[in-house]
Amino acid sequence: MLAFIVRRLAFGFATVLGVLFVLFVLFFAVADPDDMAIRAIGERASPETYAAWKRNHGYDKPLLINPEYDWTSIQRYTDTLLVDHYERMLSFRFGRSDSDDTPIWTRIREGAGPSLSLTLPLFVLGLIVGITLSLFVAFFRGTYIDRSVLVICMLGMSVASLIYIIGGQYLIGKLLRWFPISGFDPDPAVIGRFLAIPILIGVLAEFGGTVRLYRTVFLEEVNRDYVRTARAKGCGEIRVMLRHVLRNALLPIITNVVLAIPFLFIGSILFESFFGIPGLGALTVEAINGNDFSTLRTIVYIGALLYIAGQILTDICYSLADPRVRLGAEASA
């Protein structure tokens, strides 16, 4: 067991190093510091201004190997952007934003709360709606109810999320005037008014795909032997669905869903910038528009870190519950 956890952690750490390498290639090798300086201060500055900008942001080092090193001190040999990048990211010293010099870490901390207040209810509500509706559809499998819900799902899946947001904001916020069109207030008494439209639209936008997916999971369970046994011993159809099928189908559904939880922290890029919610998604959009590479880098890194951590936790929980996972991993390794 301990060996499994250690190996899993080691692999997770290796993945983190891999993610950092991808980020290094993208943000230092492909778009090099000269590029960043040009995008940050424009094309017509003097070479001294560029040099000063690079020095201020810590980008004035060689890329891979410091050519001015000598054998007497190891320090200068590793005095490069690559080592710097790994050092900063792994020790969580993210530094300051490239565009407005605010500390990145405080902004990320401030953004996580609003992001979660949007994505968490959206996630829970979407899950409840999806499971209820797909169980309902699976109950009426093969009838016209089933077919018409499937058609609606197919139609719903084919609409771009941008259209859902624009249309929903227009309809609910502007024509019906039920809720404010955009804005945010962390006060718990009024927060619901601002989050109502995005949550409503979010659930609507994703139910097509989830209902279709969960329906297949339910239908897979419906034909199992234990369901036939339950029917044979005289269970009613509703009892079969709720007591037997739902419980067993929840396991694969939850396995899929747990992996989505880390992404809740990242927030939703579209929803946050449309509805003026000051979360991490809005921060990402701001970073894109302002060519703020250091903030963007940090957000990508934190997203990946949360995902890897979530995956390790799920794997360990699973191996505790089901020894086959542990043994399977050992057999394949």
């Binding site: 692999f11 290796a14 993945t15 891999g18 993610v19 991808v22 980020l23 993208l26 943000f27 492909v30 778009a31 499998r141 093969g142 197919m154 139609l155 899946m157 084919s158 609409v159 771009a160 999320s161 941008l162 259209i163 624009i166 227009y170 502007k174 297949t216 239908l219 897979e220 419906v222 034909n223 992404f263 990242i266 890029i269 579209l270 990402t284 959009v285 894109i288 528009n289 060519n291 590479f293 963007l296 880098r297 957000i299 990508v300 997203g303 990946a304 995902y307 890897i308 995956q311």
Partner: protein, 338 residues
């Protein structure tokens, strides 16, 4: 540069004809095609119309009809020649089939001829919507051209050879999979720069992991089958085995994934367009530009409705076809049906 896209059109038509003839000669594929046509006749016809518009927009040549206001060296496509955008335009907004301008009420140059109205610059919206067809097909097609070979290369070599190669590919896949998709996409486009090729390349890099996992798992199964073992025992080389026995048995997976990916790619381009890193002339860009027009009074609705309906119909057709393809080509899902 017009000859490049003309050659590509010729290659696409020739390739399509070749695949058609080949598929007709093979009994299994012929039956699959018949089943698909029987089940999704309308979707196939509409998709065909889209592809035709896209191809007509890709065939272009210089000069010809002596239209004023166009640079002599500018190559114009068939769609451009039908609509003549440099002449067929108004001063500003006009409603569909309008006789007068939307603001002010002055007489139009072409009253009643703008089927979908005109946009803020007076350009015909139908023309702009039809131009978007090529961009949408390009996003799906070009990206899959990057994505499918990449996924097959990694997936098949990992599944077929196993061992160290499998470990390495697994590591690369889990590294890329652990970065949230949209964030990786944004990071790639920010680093590579904006442009058609860059965006398609970035979409390809972010999307190949899923198909690669599928092909790896399937190759692992195929590798153990008797006829593959027999071929290896007879001394057939690895490349030949992969070409003769592995790849043909992955074709159905590739086709289904291609259809599913296509819609995902076209839809995610709208998000990129909103973030300002999409493609020029795409429907996403049209929607993004039109979203503020909804807050005007009276509302200017035809721009956003035209772009989003064109997008919706294309995605719906491909979704329907993908759904039918999965039922036809992948017998495992048949068992799940009630």
């Amino acid at each position: 540069m017009s000859w490049v896209s003309n050659i590509i059109v010729a290659l696409l038509v020739a390739g399509g004809a070749y695949v058609w003839i080949w598929a007709r000669s093979n009994r299994l594929w012929r039956e699959a095609m018949r089943a698909l046509v029987r089940r999704r006749r309308f979707a196939l016809i509409i998709l065909g119309v889209y592809v035709l518009i896209g191809l007509l927009d890709a065939v272009s040549w210089v000069g010809g009809d002596g239209v004023q206001g166009v640079a002599a060296s500018e190559a114009r496509s068939v769609i451009d020649r039908i609509f003549k955008p440099s002449i067929f335009r108004e001063k500003s907004y006009s409603e569909p089939f309008a006789q007068v301008e939307f603001v002010g009420g002055a007489a139009l140059t072409f009253p009643g001829q703008h089927v979908l109205g005109t946009d803020i610059l007076g350009d015909d919206v139908l023309y702009k919507t039809l131009k978007g067809v090529k961009v949408a097909l390009l996003i799906g097609g070009l990206t899959c051209l990057v994505l499918i070979p990449l996924a097959l290369l990694f997936g098949v070599s990992a599944g077929y050879f196993g061992g160290k190669i499998d470990d390495a590919v697994f590591f690369v896949m889990s590294t890329l999979a652990s970065i949230p998709n949209l964030l990786l996409l944004i990071a790639l486009i920010m680093a590579l720069g904006k442009g058609t090729l860059q965006v398609c390349f970035a979409l390809g890099i972010t999307g190949w992991v899923g198909l690669s996992r599928l092909t790896r798992a399937e190759t692992l199964k195929l590798r153990e089958l008797e006829y593959v073992q027999a071929a290896r025992a007879l001394g057939v080389s690895h490349p030949t085995i992969v070409m003769r026995h592995i790849l043909p048995n992955l074709a159905h997976l590739v086709i289904i994934t291609f259809a599913l990916l296509f819609t995902g790619l076209v839809l995610s381009e709208t998000i990129l367009a909103y973030l300002g890193i999409g493609l020029d002339g795409s429907w996403g860009r049209m929607i993004d530009q039109a979203r503020n027009e909804l807050s005007r009074d009276p509302v200017i609705w035809w721009n956003i409705v035209a772009a989003s309906s064109a997008l919706f119909i294309l995605v719906l057709c491909v979704n329907l076809i993908a759904d039918a393809l999965r039922d036809i080509l992948d017998p495992r899902t048949l068992r799940e049906r009630p």
